[in-house]
Subunit: 511 residues, 2 copies
């Protein structure tokens, strides 16, 4: 390794270690911390975040980076070293625009705001949350102002989660997605066969739900020697280093889906982080390339694999061992249909695959309106209700299960939501590429074997970490840019079959 690269790497490791420490403290806050720790933790996180930011954006980084760039021309552009220099330059030019005081204050308020949200959501008290949310929206807008943008204020934030993506691209994808989804949902609801999911709402003790979910996650390839499962108010995955990537879930005794598919989902995220090449550890490249790619992993394991017929052919008998009484006489077909029931509903994380994206579009619309100043924080509950009516035809009975259902805004993560739907789209594009390379994948899933699929993902996605831009990784893995049509075909074929609807009659995927 050329000396300037080595020096840059060593220096960047400090930022990496500080960010890892902050991630441990955040994980602890969500899973272990006693209530009294709130104020102290907010301060600790503010300090770690400030120091990580100061270290990364320091003149020293600028000097080492410039020196590294002088030797980078001699490197293979595909090499880890060249990618390190490239991505560090990208990050450095952006992050040096954010003052350390601003970053620290934002981290402190985000830590506090999350706790306000938790308490306010429990009491269904939007008014109590509103001042914190206002602060978070203001921080987001100021972040965008610092970072700058040419087309839309949203672009500055979206780039933090989905590098090199523009709101206008999301607009285009979402317009077509909405055009297909809204009537498709309508058709399912009005003309589709009946799908009964009462089997999912028996009494399912939490411990067995967790045991089954974790057994499947391990079968997928989630390595528990380098991970663990805990409970949190909002499920998440968090990687501290190559050897420690954790997931959380939440349980509902009368809803088998929540925790089981939640664990599949988070295991998908965690396997991505566990699969990053160890050579990238302690560099800015040692994590997923974008949240869209991250969601493509989580949603693939949750839905394309976990809600497929072949999967349950293998796993229903095993699930029955955990719940013999609850699942007596339930056959694979009934169970498969139950876990794929389509119904406009309140909660995004519990939404079926078809309506899910409508929840995302709603949030994307509201975020743009908030940032543009067209909607005020105080008016969010009403705006939320109006959009729910427009997209899903339902009205939230309260704010807890409406505008306050997600953790994201409480920590100021505006610009994040579209990556969920991008992830859905990418998941099908990747799965089809994997299946094209290995036509036996479906057959293997039907036997509870996932190594071929995981191996393809490791090779084509995971190991790269952030070495390339997400659109480059997608192009390399599938041979094409982001494309919506395979995803639309997947939805229409799968749910057309379940609901007995001829896809020919639907307005979409008419290539």
């Amino acid at each position: 390794m050329p000396e300037p690269i080595r020096s840059l790497r060593d220096h960047l490791a400090i930022t990496s270690d500080l960010r890892s420490a902050a991630a441990v403290l955040q994980w602890d806050q969500e899973t272990q911390m006693p209530p009294g720790g709130v104020m102290g933790r907010a301060t600790e996180l503010a300090t770690l975040t400030r120091l990580a930011h100061e270290s990364f954006t320091s003149p020293r980084t600028g000097e080492l980076l410039a020196a590294a760039e002088r030797v980078a021309g001699t490197l293979d552009p595909e090499s880890d070293d060249a990618a390190l220099v490239r991505m560090t330059r990208r990050d450095y030019d952006r992050l040096t625009k954010l003052p350390p005081d601003f970053v620290a204050e934002r981290a402190r308020e985000a830590s506090l705001s999350t706790e306000v949200w938790k308490a306010a959501r429990k009491r269904n008290d939007f008014a109590a949350f509103q001042p914190s949310l206002q602060k978070m929206v203001d921080f987001a807008r100021r972040t965008a102002d610092y970072l700058g943008y040419t087309e839309h204020v949203y672009d500055a934030l979206l780039d933090l989660y989905e590098p090199d993506m523009k709101a206008s691209e999301v607009d285009a994808v979402f317009a077509r997605l909405r055009e297909v989804t809204v009537p498709f949902v309508q058709t399912i609801v009005t003309r589709g066969r009946t799908v009964d999911d009462t089997v999912l709402h028996e009494d399912y003790p939490e411990a067995q739900q967790g045991a089954f979910g974790l057994a499947v996650a391990q079968a997928f390839g989630y390595d528990l020697d380098r991970g663990r499962l805990d409970i949190s108010a909002h499920p998440f995955a968090s990687g501290f280093n190559a050897g420690d990537v954790r997931i959380t879930t939440r349980y509902k005794r009368r809803d088998l889906s929540e925790a089981v598919f939640g664990i599949f989902h988070e295991a998908g995220h965690a396997m991505y982080e566990q699969g990053v090449a160890p050579e990238l550890d302690r560099t800015p490249l040692a994590r997923g390339a974008s949240l869209g790619l991250h969601e493509s992993q989580s949603r693939m394991w949750e839905n394309i694999v976990g809600r497929s017929r072949p999967f349950w052919e293998h796993y229903l008998p095993l699930l029955r061992q955990h719940f013999p009484g609850q699942l007596r006489g339930v056959d694979v077909e009934t169970f498969y249909r139950a876990v794929n029931r389509v119904e406009p509903s309140l909660i995004r994380t519990a939404a079926d695959e078809v309506t899910y994206n409508l929840h995302i579009m709603l949030r994307f619309d509201l975020e743009k309106s908030l940032l543009e100043g067209r909607v005020k924080v105080a008016d969010l509950p009403a705006a939320w209700a109006a959009k729910m009516k427009e997209y899903l035809g339902i009205t939230p009975p309260n704010d807890a299960d409406g505008v306050m259902q997600d953790i994201h805004w409480s920590s100021g993560s505006l610009g994040y939501f579209p990556t969920y739907s991008l992830g859905n789209v990418i998941s099908v594009q990747l799965f089809e590429a994997a299946r094209k390379a290995h036509p036996t994948i479906d057959e293997e899933i039907a036997h509870g074997r996932f190594a071929t699929l995981l191996g393809w993902l490791r090779q084509n996605i995971h190991r790269h970490g952030r070495k390339f831009l997400p659109r480059e990784i997608l192009q390399r893995a599938t041979g094409s840019a982001l494309t919506l049509e395979p995803y639309l075909r997947y939805l229409q074929r799968k749910f057309g079959e379940i609901y007995g609807i001829s896809t020919a009659g639907a307005p979409a995927a008419a290539e």
Copy 2:
């Protein structure tokens, strides 16, 4: 607050936050972390430790401290601000002697060495632990060399745990303590009445042990809104900030003492940290004044309160509710005697009050020998066995329950052990002062009420944090310097009565 004090405080808060973060990461390593996290965590801890050290020992601290000292003369010497300046100067002059690279490397190796110890202890494999232990002893010796000392190499390390204490003072206390204890144990073993503790070795399910232990800890005053209880290989208490002070324990199904008294002990530590004045938060004063004072708290709640007759008069009926079968027909006297059974035994943490200090003296002797180079790490098992024979009359059957039983050396904490016995001595001195001020304390304990005792400790010890040197705090609280005789009287009276031995015949406490 004068501006120079404010600036110093703000600057020191960075060190404080980094140390808190490191403490969270250490707690996580001992209680939650998956095995794969070992290497990454070691690096993260090294970075946090280095940054905390660099920040504290930076020229900036020196400048701010000098500026603060220029206004300190106008302050009340008893004030928080004056104490902050005083203690920061003390710490600064010492810690600036340690190079950041050395501190970081020591932290990294300590984190790794702890894991090596855990694995080697499980396999009873001292040879596997030896190279790590050698490193830790070398680090300790180099630390002492950096810090400097006038009388004995041990002084430099002891001062880290017991500020302003010298090995020669410990020698004097221990000589007298040994002179009394060795024959007293001999008398108990050869001429004492029989004490039967089989009641402690029934089958006690772990969950109920924890529930009872925690209920008592809460009754003592341990605030669970600002704490929690977990399991670790070696029990400890750790405070991250005023709102978050956690304890751990370990369970043995066939030994009720281990977890129950362990929880009392750690709760004693935690209450000390929870009782530090909130005004001191995020300063170097926001923790216990020394490990000796810390142990005086933990050992007081564990032994003087928790192993007293009045305590069990109240709590045996409650314990019986948790274990009705195991405790059927057991009366207070039998139980009281059982939890105070004296027997030379292998494990320090499980030792009775009388033999406990012999375990400490053994370690103190060996540490001095190691640091002087008179004993080599390779010869430790043999030296350990010889000392066990000399002090306790027994021979360890293996190294796991011998030289490898404690975590301390694995993390390089040499110089720490004497504080346990100093804590025992101080605990009686403090308890007697509290009882003198509030003669109702014993009566209250017999009714499960601890607020008077805790209130006295809060007022006289806890709230001060590190504002004063430990010997100053002791003097203020009791009106006298460290004095051994009340402790000897306490031991001889309590165990003389239990074992039916006339203390007149014993060679000690003959003031």
